[in-house]
Subunit: 444 residues, 2 copies
């Protein structure tokens, strides 16, 4: 007999309310189970648009919806705000920083990833990454205050340093940040300053590899680079960052493998590395599972842990493979559609286990890849049964825009985001230029 | 010859970009002067709607517009982000925390007010006031986290304490906060929790005086109290707060002058006292002007300082009187229309002084007073040449709504605020329920 007499229904705990946790919880809507959704923040964040908050284009509430609200009508869900400190895989308990531990029969771990400085955590204060709303506020604050500081700075060299923005990492976030920064400098702030010319700002995108957007086909990477340069971004490929100290960024490899370059800048955005949540390593240690170099937990074909089928790991925390009939297993990319699909698959496999049926291996369906670059500029690589369909430029940007608005959670958000964007597009303005914590001065 | 050869045009410095500073700067649009607008935050805040940010109804950018942006087309304005530390009235310099001092020929001080704890600053950590966006975020965080904590709390007495909200002060802000809190508890959060019933929350409004909204006619105060009670707010008049310690609020006077009452609560909002910016006292000391009990600077009929006609003090920082022909001078209330009118009057008097003309005494034109209470509830007291026109309830609420949207700065804001409100009204939802700084737990 179960310990809890009310727990005749299987108890499912979902950790995390990102795309994976949200979809898993939704997929269990009609199941006779009791779900506890444990979330560290009180909101689901639409992360693909987080760079818009960091660049003052959208307000935080436009891309964040309370998980509690999203599940208000799903009666089998209890939402709990709390920080998971450990998982007791023997007693089957999720331990929280505050309050009693939460027992589970089935556990879905979707704790996601954070940014990684590749062992150089001392760079963190000088180069914030972009994963949470707080990160976005901090970056927004730094960008806006850099222009304010430049306006007040009499020394031309220092003024130039305030007006130099460095984005490290040429993945989707880095490309979006650099493109939008160029838009801010050239359009948004035009005419607002009296002593500086914001369009004189330099925006540098540093990428260690040979091309930007490496998940894209090579020709689209080339198109993206062209579009960035057209927007005024200096793209440096093969550029390895070797030092960041709040005054300068030291780069190697741009002009030959041993040539070093010093960039004077007061605003650096880190968009280079991703590391899985620390919960992954803890879980691996407890269960004997392995983790990959990025700290992701290597899962079985059905997304369960070896020897612990009652625990599934999904989303950015999982090193998963896709199993398609007749094809070799392929690694699943760390993108939101994959997280959503894993959420649905893990939920379905739990229901199969409850019903005494065998679980099924996860299959990732790739519908393609798209990335925006800036005003009127994006690249799209659509995967269809007829092959890949690639395009870039204005039409790709429209496609990206409507795809993102379509996938936003909740009707109200979609409408407001559409209006915000339409008004921003025509006016070339960005309305969310609030610096709330002004007393905290930008670091030197 | 002037020190600065470019300064043949009179140099006007405006301190503060609230309603007063903004209107003064605008009024000088076509004047042959050089204006420096010194602001401590980077935005003009539409303070009448700040309670909506504190109660998750609006996002911060919806009610805050960068001053720099508002004046981008007014070529005679230079906007400077900076904290004024002192005014050297002899050398005519405004000293900033950072950077060189700003010289002036004419100075308009519109530094506003902050909340006052009547000498009990030790209450501040337990009872935040509502003057800035940061204040609003803090109050929003506390309100939302109180419901989250209640959901996790097994002890019924503690749960009841988490679900008890106390608003201190029955002025417009206190009434709005209490009414909106009732709306959140009864409508917004309905059905979202599994262990608590949010509508069981108690909302108490404590007012030391004999009625709420004391600036209103007595019958409208009574109507406001009725409407608050209909929304579920417990209104306690004659209630003097004698202690706040983060666990309890000690009140005297509700059941007789000496009866004490202890309210167990974890969320207190301070809407009781207003104190003028510290710059007022500094200015008074330097010029020999006097300040009133609230720290406001007593100004001359033309808003200038005695013996320092080149300095005008306006808005909430000024203890000003209104001079209407044939009437006794009357004190000017601390409301935004008065601040705006003072801004225009101070600007006009500066232009008269530059032209060698005599200045004019300030005359406050009172168009009435309006306050919202909550869903469909408001009181309006319109002043017209035919006398006062008073109404309350649904029509008053609509009037309040459109008046506020009309006066919002900037077209985009108005439209988005209207949509937000329309959607919030029909859905009974509040979309800005973001807790960003979640790690910072509510105080016990």
């Amino acid at each position: 007999m179960p310990i809890n007499p009310n727990a005749a229904r299987p108890r499912i705990v979902v950790i995390g309310c990102g795309f994976g946790g949200l979809e898993a919880t939704r997929a269990l809507k009609s199941a006779a189970v009791d779900i506890t959704l444990v979330e560290r923040t009180n909101h689901h964040l639409f992360q693909p648009l987080l760079y818009q908050v960091a660049t003052a284009g959208l307000s935080a509430p436009a891309i964040a919806a309370p998980a509690r609200h999203l599940f208000r009508k799903q009666a089998n869900v209890t939402t709990l705000l709390g920080d998971v400190t450990a998982i007791d895989t023997q007693a089957r308990l999720v331990k929280l920083e505050e309050g009693p531990p939460v027992p589970y029969d089935h556990l879905i771990v979707a704790a996601g990833a954070t940014h990684s400085y590749f062992g150089r955590d001392d760079w963190a204060p000088f180069a914030p990454g972009l994963k949470t709303l707080d990160d976005a506020f901090e970056i927004r604050r730094r960008i806006l205050l850099a222009f304010e500081a430049a306006e007040k700075e009499p020394d031309p060299a220092l003024r130039a340093a305030w007006l130099t923005f460095v984005v490290v990492g040429g993945g989707p976030t880095g490309v979006e940040m650099a493109g939008t920064l160029a838009e801010i400098a050239h359009h948004t702030l035009a005419g607002e300053f009296r002593r500086i010319d914001p369009s004189a700002a330099r925006i540098l995108l540093l990428e260690g590899g040979p091309r930007v957007l490496q998940a894209m086909p090579e020709d689209l990477s080339a198109r993206a680079k062209e579009q960035l340069e057209k927007l005024g971004v200096e793209v440096r490929l093969g550029a390895r960052v070797v030092a960041i100290d709040g005054r300068t960024v030291e780069v190697q490899g741009v002009d030959g493998p041993h040539a070093a370059q010093t960039i004077h800048t007061r605003c650096v955005v880190w968009a280079a590395g991703v590391a899985a949540s620390a919960l992954g390593r803890q879980l691996a240690q407890a269960t004997g599972a392995t983790t990959d170099r990025a700290g992701r937990v290597v899962v079985e074909p059905d997304l369960g842990l070896p020897g612990h089928a009652e625990i599934s790991v999904i989303g950015d925390l999982a090193a998963a493979r896709s199993f398609a009939p007749g094809l070799e297993p392929r690694p699943v990319p760390g993108v939101s559609p994959a997280a959503k699909q894993m959420g649905r698959a893990a939920a379905a496999n739990i229901l199969r286990r409850i019903a005494g049926q065998p679980t099924r291996p996860f299959r990732y369906r790739d519908y393609g890849n798209l990335a925006t670059i800036g005003r009127n500029a994006a690249v799209v690589d659509l995967a269809s049964p007829l092959g890949h369909f690639k395009f870039s430029g204005y039409f790709a940007w429209l496609f990206w825009l409507f795809a993102h608005i379509y996938f936003l959670i909740g009707f109200r958000n979609r409408l407001v985001v559409l209006i915000d964007w339409a008004s921003a597009y025509w006016s070339k303005q960005r309305y969310a230029r609030v610096i709330s914590d002004i007393a905290q001065r930008p670091r030197m």
